[in-house]
């Protein structure tokens, strides 16, 4: 079997999320070095606070301020920090019950080593130097010698100047993408300016591009077939919207093209003809640019139009 293609694929997106009144107060509070919790229907103080009671589903709005000191309720030593985690040196993940709170906050603890961490140890917030209104405004926790403060949490109106109303949560995942056997063969053939499909051993249909399976019969398509190069426009649309970074003059035509010998139409741009003269049945051929690994566009061959009956199954 020839080697299957592989390439790095990075999926990255800055999710912009709006905050409700409770989350806004909590995250703005962190920016101001103030830790807020919310009282549940049963009178427990949840830190971090949520907008609805996890037991009764009642709406929660009763904010209180708790201490920036607390007690570790469970921990796990992380010897090899991963990208995006709060510290880049070995640290402990901890759930911390802040003084005045009844629930645990997940964060990192900067400690010398696993021997320096125990359940029940006292810790305090280490604030980030630059704070924006995000959970990362807590840089991490650090060991703290002080005893637990048994003061009641104090009511807080949750009001701050210039409250944050949203966060941008950047997400990035790294993959090594492989298109699998069938699409590898298709892509490799394209680089040689050939188009190959695969035939279903059951219904005999030829799929282009091939995905390795016949969607009608549910069996593997392994019989490779060269199709084209010319084909027929089965349907098309006229694009009037410019996509970002797209260097094509508007309007242009995007079409479904049934290559000769294929039983499935593929997509392609039509050029070399005024946009308002493109029509169903137009015969076209691929145009390759220097060094291109796939057809840049399709242009008319000059042949007479295909008869509707020859492609009506593919519309």
């Amino acid at each position: 079997m020839p080697e299957v293609l592989k390439a790095p694929l990075v999926v990255e997106f800055p999710f912009t999320r709006s905050l409700g009144p409770v989350q806004s107060a909590f995250l703005t509070g962190l920016r101001e070095r103030t830790v807020l919790g919310v009282k549940t229907t049963d009178g427990l103080v949840m830190v971090p606070p949520v907008e609805y009671d996890p037991v009764t589903a009642d709406e929660l709005r009763d904010l209180v301020e708790v201490e920036p000191t607390g007690t570790v309720t469970t921990w796990a030593w992380n010897p090899e920090p991963r990208r995006g985690q709060p510290l880049d040196t070995p640290f402990a993940w901890v759930l911390v019950k802040l003084d005045g709170a009844d629930t645990g906050l997940l964060h990192a603890l900067d400690a010398a080593g696993p021997d320096a961490v125990t359940t029940g140890m006292r810790v305090r917030v280490r604030w980030a130097a630059e704070r924006t209104g995000a959970i990362t405004d807590i840089a991490c926790f650090e060991p703290y010698e002080g005893a637990a403060a048994h003061t009641e949490p104090t009511a807080h109106d949750g009001q701050f100047d210039d409250a944050v109303s949203g966060i941008v949560a950047a997400a990035r995942l790294d993959y090594v993408y492989s298109p699998g056997r069938a699409q590898t063969a298709y892509i490799n053939a394209l680089a040689d300016r050939r188009t190959v499909g695969e035939r279903c051993p059951s219904c005999r249909k030829v799929y282009v591009p091939p995905r390795g399976a016949c969607p009608t019969c549910g069996v593997a398509t392994t019989d490779r077939v060269e199709v084209g190069p010319a084909g027929t426009v089965t349907t098309f649309c006229i694009v009037n919207v410019k996509a970002k970074n797209l260097d094509i003059e508007l309007p242009y035509v995007y079409a479904h093209i049934a290559l000769d010998g294929a039983d499935l139409a593929l997509h392609g741009r039509i050029a070399g003809i005024p946009y308002d003269q493109v029509r169903m049945g137009l015969r076209v051929e691929p145009v390759w640019t220097e060094g291109g690994r796939y057809p840049d566009h399709y242009r008319p061959t000059g042949e007479p139009d295909a008869d509707y009956d020859t492609y009506k199954e593919l519309v």
Binding site: P48, T74, A76, G104, A171, L173, G180, R211
Partner: protein, 348 residues
């Protein structure tokens, strides 16, 4: 209530990487096997439901690609859950209970090899307070393990024992990824060592469900679904008692698990420490055979490992090795969501 059974089960070999296979290439042989067991064709199936995750594939609507493998044209009655296939099976079970269809094909798959599954799973966490810290799946399981150790419910040697028993059981499972004697290794995230963690791998699973007489016609000894239920814990980890799993207990109760003892339990516990929690929540007696397949510690294709547990439990009933089995599936960090199914064979 209408009687519904699992009448066929098939799975792929579970492998660390399957570069040469696209998702549909991986799934198709499993679909063909499960259909061949019953003699059904895809066109005979009343309802098809699948489970998978776009975050593993790094691509939107990735499940549509594997739909080719069931012959989705002409149009079929089909659904998909962005979850483990156990939840797809729940949907199919409900569909059969309505009487709308008599058979269902359920499949799921996970191809973790293209990405880093520890990082990928962080994206299912609370996006405001937790996900920005990127706590990975092993780290969160380790917090739970430490809570159990602090509570005196287990210790590191006991966890190592669970790992060893699971991989030893997997020796008899030709599909398993990790089997036999495997060293516990170094800490991944203390207190969990490499041996306490599931392998990362690719794999697929499929089952066929049928109702009433149709089930008897298709299978010599159907695995009747006596009950099935799924429940979820509070969203925030810091709100939960990590040493317990009330959602598993409630799901089991609603599924009828406590009405009579079971002889087999297939538990979806990707981490050794989670088996401790589940045994307690499910009140399993010492004589119950737990994870004879090796469980998720032997093969853990994400999105398929839960349905695999149900399939393995059903297969033991098909083979006459069990009369009443419990199957459990989980999803999310630290046993966030839990599904329990109770399966029985006809009396012999």
């Amino acid at each position: 209530m209408r009687e519904v059974a699992i009448v066929a089960f098939a799975q792929s070999d579970h492998l660390r990487t399957t570069d040469e296979l696209s998702e549909v290439d991986m799934v198709m042989p499993v679909l063909h096997q499960v259909l061949a067991q019953t003699g059904l064709k895809t066109s005979d199936i009343g309802f098809t439901c699948s489970g998978s995750s776009d975050y593993l594939a790094g691509r939107a609507f990735s499940f549509t690609m594997t739909l080719d493998g069931v012959g989705a044209w002409p149009p079929i009655s089909e659904s998909h859950v962005e979850m483990d296939g156990a939840w797809a099976m729940y949907e199919a079970w409900v569909k059969l209970l309505t009487g709308e269809v008599d058979t269902a094909l359920v499949y799921s798959y996970g191809k973790s090899s293209p990405g880093s599954v520890r990082d990928v799973l962080t994206r299912q966490l609370d996006p405001y307070y937790v996900a920005p810290l990127w706590p990975d799946s092993v780290a969160l399981a380790a917090l739970q393990a430490q809570a159990l150790i602090d509570a005196g419910e287990t210790d590191e040697p006991a966890l190592a024992g669970i790992a060893a028993r699971s991989r030893e059981s997997a020796s008899a499972n030709s599909h398993a990824q990790v089997k036999g004697s495997v060293p516990q290794g170094d800490y991944e995230v203390q207190p969990l060592r490499k041996g306490d963690c599931p392998p990362v791998g690719d794999g697929a699973v499929a089952v066929i469900l049928a109702a009433g007489d149709k089930a008897r016609e298709l299978c010599e000894r159907p695995a009747w679904i006596r009950g099935m239920d799924h429940r979820i814990e509070a969203h925030s980890l810091g709100v939960r008692d990590l040493t317990d799993s009330p959602s598993t207990r409630l799901a089991a109760e609603r599924a009828g698990a406590f009405e009579r003892p079971v002889d087999t339990a297939e538990l979806h516990a990707p981490f050794t420490s989670q088996e401790v929690v589940l045994r307690k929540a499910l009140q399993l007696a010492d004589d119950v055979t737990v994870n004879p397949s090796g469980g998720a510690l032997a093969a853990n294709p994400i999105m398929a490992a839960g349905l695999l547990r149900i399939g393995e439990a059903a297969a033991r009933i098909h083979r006459g090795e069990s009369d009443r089995a419990l199957a459990h599936a989980t999803s999310g960090p630290c046993l966030q969501q839990n599904l329990v199914a109770v399966l029985e064979g006809d009396a012999r």
